[in-house]
């Protein structure tokens, strides 16, 4: 049977980063609490076969006071072979408290002290440099990996001499006495900077060690019969700090204060969001216009068209391939040349916001205002994720305190927050006519989101004012290589998921269209499409497709000769229309079919009535 290793720790301590480094999988990583809502399983390859690594959702205690803690306790009780407890050098007390609770389970535990590199900033202590010669002395004796173990272990064999010479441990660089911490907890502590892969090799070696020999001295037995309590944790923290004076990192501190204070914080927020919006549109448009469009329209598509024309004579089959909905053209152009550039630009901008730790600060700035519609500041994160894709947005609502908050956010995101794929189409569709229509549409979507929140707050039962108790993460400069990796992961998942589905849907559409079935649908839906929305009859095709993928409500409008008013009507209908079939299924899984069904019906009704209203008023004016 596979050996099982648990990664456990507080929220936002970098468990997922360590997990990624151990397994090579790229799970979602961000700088805010609650990124891992479900646990992730991966494999680490070792000399003793594959080892299963489980990334447990972050929790502050094992008191089972929320979903994440329930999952964590369940997993600890499932007899793992090793528990890696990730301590955060930034909030040692809480980390130590959690570790004491973990140690009480009597399992083999390895402590990892992560983020030893930023502790100096937050704790207000300057980093110490290595003493000269301290590391090189050790290296000459050991060519493989460094060892920071407090107790003697296999990886230190032959290093006894150096072990007694305390000079070589990483601790010299940081103001925390790792040896004392290890002694207090009765386990080994590996210092780590996970984002820079420092300490990962040591952790791997130690996991293999415990799994191969199962030494009993790692269990921290001293804690099994002792209560974990806060006075203990506080005592240990005072003991392991080398120095006590507080000389803060002035610039970071001042910036953190500026961003979070109402003034100038709100101005900075406005500026940041404007820049983010500009990056998304500007970068996306540039990738499309200057890179992908020239490539496809001057090389790929002419080649495909001439090849098909060479092989097939005019008729049904040729049209299915390269006709109105020809899937060899549209099936490539729409997902790759149109949507993909915005997927790249959105996740680039989002990752900047995520990794810097700006999003929770934005949440705090907007907390008071969001309270008015039954939400708390932390809810801003799922909403912003929703501008990328509704699926991760709904997944991240699992971390919320109340079901009411979850439902409000899910309704908002499904109804009035366009996903990036849709946004890309809006920009392409509308920006060529006028950028103002694009902006108007987004202002409209924002107002609609607020309205949705307000109405659902009134309708749904539950307490009116949510409670915020949250930690503000340290402000960090985003790491460019991490950023690039994140964008790449999202891009890959778009290509493997969204783009492939779009390709299939376009194929089926092309067949249905060319065989005349969609024309029948068009005649059936004519009262809504022609009379109410005042769009051409062929616009009923996208309304059917839109149930499967959100952006397909709007995409086919690109090919129709529409007036500006019709474009606006179509876009607004698209904005409020049914979220993807995948989203409806997910809502049903999370909240039951009754709620999924209501959201499905509400979105259709709202989109048709607002679309109809715009068409009606527009026609009076024009």
């Amino acid at each position: 049977m596979n050996k099982k290793v648990l990664l456990i720790g507080l929220p936002n301590v970098g468990k997922s980063v360590i997990f990624n480094k151990l397994t090579g999988i790229n799970t979602g990583v961000a700088n805010y609490a609650g990124t891992t809502v479900e646990y992730t399983v991966g494999k680490m390859i070792s000399n003793f076969g594959d080892i299963t690594i489980i990334d447990v959702p972050g929790c502050y205690t094992l008191d089972v006071s929320n979903e994440a803690e329930r999952v964590a306790v369940e997993m600890l009780n499932s007899k793992p072979d090793v528990v890696v407890c990730v301590l955060d050098a930034n909030c040692l007390e809480s980390s130590i408290y959690l570790m004491m609770q973990v140690l009480q389970k009597g399992l083999p535990v390895i402590g990892v002290l992560n983020r030893v590199d930023i502790v100096g900033y937050r704790r207000g202590k300057k980093r110490r440099r290595f003493k000269s010669g301290s590391i090189s002395a050790k290296r000459s004796n050991n060519d493989s990996s460094r060892c920071y173990c407090v107790k003697k272990c296999n990886c230190c064999q032959g290093l006894d001499q150096d072990l007694t010479n305390k000079n070589f441990t990483l601790e010299k660089e940081y103001p925390i006495d790792i040896q004392v911490l290890g002694k207090e907890l009765g386990t080994m502590i590996i210092p780590m900077v996970a984002t820079k892969a420092k300490g990962i090799a040591e952790l791997k070696a130690e996991i293999s060690n415990i799994i191969s020999s199962k030494p009993t001295n790692q269990k921290g037995q001293g804690f099994i019969h002792r209560d974990a309590d806060w006075t203990q944790a506080e005592r240990i923290v005072t003991k392991i700090y080398h120095q006590k004076e507080h000389d803060d990192n002035k610039i970071r501190k001042r910036l953190e204060q500026m961003i979070i204070k109402p003034y100038p914080g709100l101005i900075i927020a406005f500026f940041t969001l404007t820049v983010t919006f500009a990056i998304i549109i500007g970068l996306g448009m540039s990738i499309r216009r200057f890179l992908l469009l020239p490539f496809f329209s001057s090389f790929v598509f002419p080649a495909i068209i001439s090849l098909v024309e060479l092989l097939l004579s005019e008729g049904f089959f040729r049209n299915v391939l390269i006709g109105e909905y020809g899937f060899l053209i549209k099936g490539i152009e729409w997902p790759i040349a149109l949507v993909l550039p915005y997927v790249v630009s959105f996740y680039f901008a989002l990752s900047l916001l995520e990794d810097s730790g700006y999003l929770p600060r934005l949440g705090i700035l907007l907390d008071g205002i969001l309270n008015k519609i039954g939400l708390s500041g932390a809810n801003i994160i799922p909403i912003i994720l929703g501008y990328g894709c509704t699926i991760p947005a709904i997944a991240s609502t699992r971390a919320m305190n109340t079901k009411k908050e979850r439902l409000i956010v899910v309704t908002m995101v499904s109804l009035s927050v366009p996903c990036i794929s849709q946004t890309g189409v809006f920009i392409t569709l509308l920006a060529e006519r006028s950028v103002i229509i694009v902006l108007a549409l987004f202002v409209f979507s924002l107002l609609a989101a607020i309205g949705t929140g307000y109405v659902s707050n009134l309708i749904l039962k539950g307490s009116r004012v949510p409670l915020t108790i949250t930690e503000v993460p340290v402000l960090l400069a985003p790491d460019l290589s991490v950023l690039g990796k994140k964008v790449w992961v999202r891009l890959k998942s778009f290509l493997a998921g969204g783009a492939v589905i779009m390709f299939y849907v376009i194929f089926v559409t092309s067949v249905l269209y060319e065989s005349g079935i969609f024309q029948v649908v068009g005649r059936v839906m004519a009262p809504i499409v022609e009379n109410l929305l005042r769009l051409p009859q062929e616009a009923s095709v996208p309304l059917v497709l839109g149930i499967i993928r959100r952006e397909l409500v709007v995409l086919p409008l690109l090919e129709m000769e529409l007036s500006s008013l019709q474009l606006l009507t179509g876009s607004v209908v698209g904005l409020f229309y049914v979220p993807c079939i995948a989203v409806v299924t997910m809502i049903a899984k999370e909240f039951g079919w009754k709620i999924a069904g209501s959201i499905f019906i509400v979105t259709i009704l709202v989109s048709f009535s607002i679309g109809g209203l715009i068409a009606f008023i527009g026609n009076l004016i024009v």
Partner: protein, 76 residues
């Protein structure tokens, strides 16, 4: 507004002031975030529209809803 024993509410603190916590209401998140008895906290800032209150504890920054600050008792 001092009570006889020198204790007062966190909601009565001014921006920039610090105080020592006497008692906090029962909520599973307070202790792990450092909002515990005998901890020194600093009120960093208050937010408009009844927004959250920012507290500094042990070099960490914690945001709590304004309405719960009426239930946290502190002393000088």
């Amino acid at each position: 507004m001092y009570r006889n024993n020198g204790e007062f509410l966190l909601s009565e603190m001014k921006e920039g002031d610090s105080a020592i916590i006497v008692s906090v209401p029962a909520h599973s998140l307070f202790a792990p975030l450092g909002i515990r008895k005998n901890k020194r906290i600093k009120l960093d800032s208050r937010h408009p529209f009844s927004g959250p209150v920012l507290l500094g504890v042990d070099g960490r920054q914690i945001a709590v809803s304004q309405h719960i600050t009426h239930e946290i008792i502190v002393r000088k």
